[in-house]
């Protein structure tokens, strides 16, 4: 008898344990029930870690925080160079050499009903002066932000950074003063802000361990001015591998994948899959940034510009693109500039110091510069006889980047340089990059297309390399005072002026001569869309925007793409 009870006790324990676990999972879902598939647009390839921050004043909140939840003054299309006044009524302008003027629309309101006014704009910038935020450096250039009235703002500059300012116009989310003013200045940059009140068309819906769900604001101010959003939920699904995303796309379990998907050309060509990309054929996607090989200028061999230039000549980028992307990407110009940046390309500089694939020339250069195999191990040594062993580093699991490095490895070994791929966890990679703890790394963090090539120049040769971590570019710590000054000159010269073009030309000349980075290819803004649930995706014939959910890109075409989506019938 006694034993029966024991058995019963054990089994009930197991049952209770199970129920408790089920409860734990369900407990994470407050309020509403399941969303319907038809009302949701599912993105993948956007987030790689569970959502935990929605603070627009924090430098890296959940993608979508800026764009969906909070809005900037302008949206910008980096390929056409067009501005889309968003919170602002029309394009801003420099009414004087050092005063920039913006006028807000009258419609914008925050989710709690309060109107978006000039005071909020002023506050958004002033707070960066008070507290150390990621964009506080703007105050090195700004003198004062003046709210003329409810809707008009003047930005008074001490020394206007014309080029860089362009990016602030579309990157700066406007926050409600009446809420943020009340927050303790110590916490203001680090609170998670789930209950944030923004002005955008979507807001925080639900944050789960493997996805972020944005929920539509039905009485969003912009419905009459910009349009109505058809999807009710935007789901940002975390998928831990590109192959998983591929499988899900083919099984119609997601709507838009911003992952690199192997086999894209075949998939697009197969009608049953119902998948579209921006272009129907190569390069399939819009180019998003310049993929650079950063060379650590403090490592043996890499500390010599001649060595670096030799490497540039040894790389067959066409081969890399063909084998890695099957043609779904474009090679980079030696200057690294494309899209809206191309206006500033200096043809002479590229002709004089540019490079192309020429293996013999690479070998010649190495031989001339004294890199022979003095130890007899089959690999070149430095002129002093030091061993050269270079690790090619990219984050593990980023299969396209891994493939690039494997091919680079092959190509460099062919000219006698001992290289080796090194795939590390992505945060380890980040730290190695920022701490200059790498030999050669492939990277595109800072080279995203933008409203000004200033950001590209900074990515290549920023002077912010003297701290322990260099997080703003120039990871190889290339030191060139002249170029540092030229970049500043470029930034301070009025848009499109002669001075700006001259400065840009000289920068390109010196950077190509010294080759601290090697532009390899233009990374596509991957966007593979399923037409089964949603249609009217942006394309060559339907250039509404770019369907991508990456942070920083919502305001550069992402929101517009979403806005134009229609439910498939």
């Amino acid at each position: 008898m006694k034993k029966r009870w024991m058995l019963l006790a054990v089994l009930s324990l197991a049952l209770i344990f199970t129920l408790v676990s089920v409860d734990a999972v369900l407990a994470d879902q407050p309020g509403e029930g399941p969303t319907t598939r038809e009302e949701t647009v599912i993105y993948t390839g956007v987030s790689w870690a569970p959502p935990n921050n929605w603070n627009p004043l924090y430098h890296d909140p959940q993608p979508g925080t800026v764009g969906l939840m909070y809005e900037p003054l302008f949206h910008f299309n980096p390929h056409s160079g067009e501005w889309n006044p968003w919170l602002a009524e029309e394009e801003g302008e420099w009414i004087e050499d050092d005063v920039f003027y913006v006028k807000l629309r009258e419609e914008p309101t925050f989710h709690d009903g309060t109107p978006v006014t000039a005071e909020d704009v002023k506050f958004t910038f002033d707070i960066a002066d008070e507290v150390d935020l990621y964009y506080s450096t703007i105050w090195n250039y700004l003198d004062e932000v003046v709210a003329l009235n409810e809707r008009e703002i003047e930005f008074h500059f001490e020394n206007p950074n014309y080029q860089q300012w362009q990016t602030n116009l579309y990157n700066q989310p406007i926050v409600p003063k009446h809420i943020w003013d009340e927050i303790d200045r110590e916490d203001i940059a680090s609170i998670s802000n789930e209950e944030g009140i923004g002005s955008g068309p979507f807001t925080y819906g639900q944050a789960l361990e493997d996805r972020m769900i944005w929920e539509r604001i039905d009485d969003w101010w912009g419905t009459e001015v910009h349009g109505e959003f058809a999807p009710r939920y935007v789901e940002d699904l975390i998928v831990y591998g590109n192959n998983i995303a591929l499988g899900m796309l083919l099984q119609e379990e997601l709507d838009i994948s911003n992952n690199f998907l192997p086999g894209t050309p075949e998939i697009v060509a197969t009608p049953e899959y119902n998948v579209t990309t921006y272009y129907d054929e190569a390069p399939y996607h819009v180019s998003g940034n310049t993929g650079l090989l950063y060379l650590n200028t403090e490592r043996p061999g890499l500390d010599d510009p001649e060595f670096r230039r030799a490497i540039a000549f040894a790389l067959d980028t066409d081969d890399i693109i063909e084998r890695t992307y099957q043609g779904a990407a474009l090679p980079a110009d030696p200057s690294g500039l494309f899209g809206a940046w191309a206006d500033y390309r200096c043809d002479e500089a590229v002709e004089e110091y540019g490079f192309e694939f020429d293996r013999e020339r690479a070998i010649e250069k190495l031989d001339e510069a004294g890199y022979e195999d003095t130890t007899g191990d089959g690999w070149r040594n430095t002129p002093d006889g030091e061993d050269i062993h270079l690790e090619l580093q990219v984050p593990a699991g980023w299969s396209d980047w891994e493939n690039i490095m494997r091919i680079v490895d092959e190509q460099l070994r062919e000219i006698g340089i001992h290289t080796e791929p090194n795939f590390t966890d992505d945060t380890v990679y980040n730290n190695d990059l920022w701490n200059a703890d790498f030999d050669i790394a492939f990277n595109d963090y800072q080279t995203q297309i933008s409203g000004t090539p200033y950001t590209y120049f900074e990515a290549v040769a920023t002077d912010d390399i003297y701290g322990e971590q260099a997080t703003n570019g120039n990871f190889g710590r290339y030191e060139n005072e002249e170029v540092f000054d030229l970049i500043t000159e470029f930034n301070m010269a009025p848009l499109d002026s002669d001075e700006s073009h001259e400065a840009a030309a000289e920068i390109q000349r010196q950077v190509l001569r010294d080759m601290p980075v090697i532009p390899i290819m233009l990374n596509p803004t991957y966007s593979q869309a399923l037409e089964t649930h949603w249609t009217n995706w942006p394309s060559e014939n339907n250039p509404t925007g770019i369907a991508v959910g990456w942070g920083g890109l919502w305001q550069m075409g992402g929101v517009e793409a979403l806005l134009n989506l229609e439910p498939a019938q």
Partner: protein, 296 residues
């Protein structure tokens, strides 16, 4: 050769069981299959037309990468030869498995012999230890340790796997020891006060050589499984290529959805064949050394 070693050899040679081993169909099948797979691992690489990291040619779409005369196992999505990667990978995996199982068997046999022979407190403690290690899900421990190792070479992996897999052997050897230790010749040795080592090894172990052999095969099975599993999870040897890693690459590059099935499935097939052959050998041996089953 020492006199002791000679005596052991005699015992083996005069064993009538050997006759049965050679004529048993199951064992023959198992041994041939096993040898075939091992042969593939040993000389297979010499027949590879390409290196493991050598670019062969265009490999997309899948139809261009399918198995052909030049590439009998097809190409990976990056244009590498699957045959080369499989055969070198098999080598690496078998190496780890072999070394690991020798280590595991050695530990297991020693512990089993001592526990079985000594009995009492020693037995309790050793068996307690064995049970503890046995209860752990092996792969979980392996993941925890391998995950923190900065560098993983073939020997590191073999040692790691060997240290986790031995309990099964210990238990099996212990129970055999228990039944053997009261036999006449053992008591005789005890009376003539031979050293413990000579008793353990000459009298007891020598009499369960067949059993030890079967146990070793079982361990080999286990280590191969654990090794391949670790490799598949990305915790295999950091350099070179291994079978589990080839399949991991295939999975991660989307081979399954783009129909590169040869890349994901063929490497694993060799593991299946290897272990399959071992099971046959073991079953055959089982019948021989347990005569009751001989008629079946």
């Amino acid at each position: 050769m020492t006199a002791k070693a000679k005596r052991i050899f005699q015992k083996i040679k005069s064993n009538e069981n050997l006759y049965f081993v050679i004529t048993n169909k199951k064992i023959l099948f198992g041994i041939s299959l096993f040898s075939a797979v091992c042969l593939f691992a040993i000389i297979g690489p010499y027949f590879a037309n390409y290196g493991i990291g050598e670019y062969v040619g265009i490999s997309a779409p899948a139809s261009l990468a399918a198995p052909s005369v030049d590439n009998p196992f097809g190409l990976t999505m990056n244009g590498y030869d699957v045959y080369a990667r499989t055969t070198y990978g098999l080598r690496s995996t078998i190496q780890v498995g072999f070394i690991g199982s020798i280590l595991a068997s050695t530990i297991g046999i020693i512990i089993g012999l001592i526990a079985g022979y000594k009995g009492g407190m020693v037995d309790e403690i050793l068996m307690g230890l064995t049970n503890v290690v046995l209860t752990f899900p092996q792969l979980a421990i392996l993941i925890v340790i391998a995950g923190f190792l900065p560098y993983r070479g073939i020997s590191h992996m073999a040692v790691l796997v060997g240290l986790v897999i031995w309990p099964w052997t210990a238990r099996a050897v212990r129970s055999q020891t228990l039944s053997l230790k009261n036999e006449e010749h053992v008591n005789l040795s005890k009376i003539t006060s031979n050293s413990i080592f000579s008793i353990l090894f000459e009298d007891i172990a020598a009499n369960m050589l067949s059993y030890i052999f079967m146990v070793f095969i079982q361990q080999f099975l286990g280590t191969i499984m654990a090794t391949v599993g670790l490799e598949f999870l990305g915790l295999g040897p950091t350099r070179g290529v291994s079978l589990g890693m080839v399949m991991r690459n295939a999975l991660q590059e989307g081979a399954l959805y783009l129909d590169y099935w040869w890349w994901a499935i063929i490497p694993g097939l060799f593991i299946l064949l290897l272990l399959f052959s071992l099971y046959f050998i073991n079953t055959g041996l089982d019948k021989i050394f347990n005569p009751e089953l001989r008629e079946m």
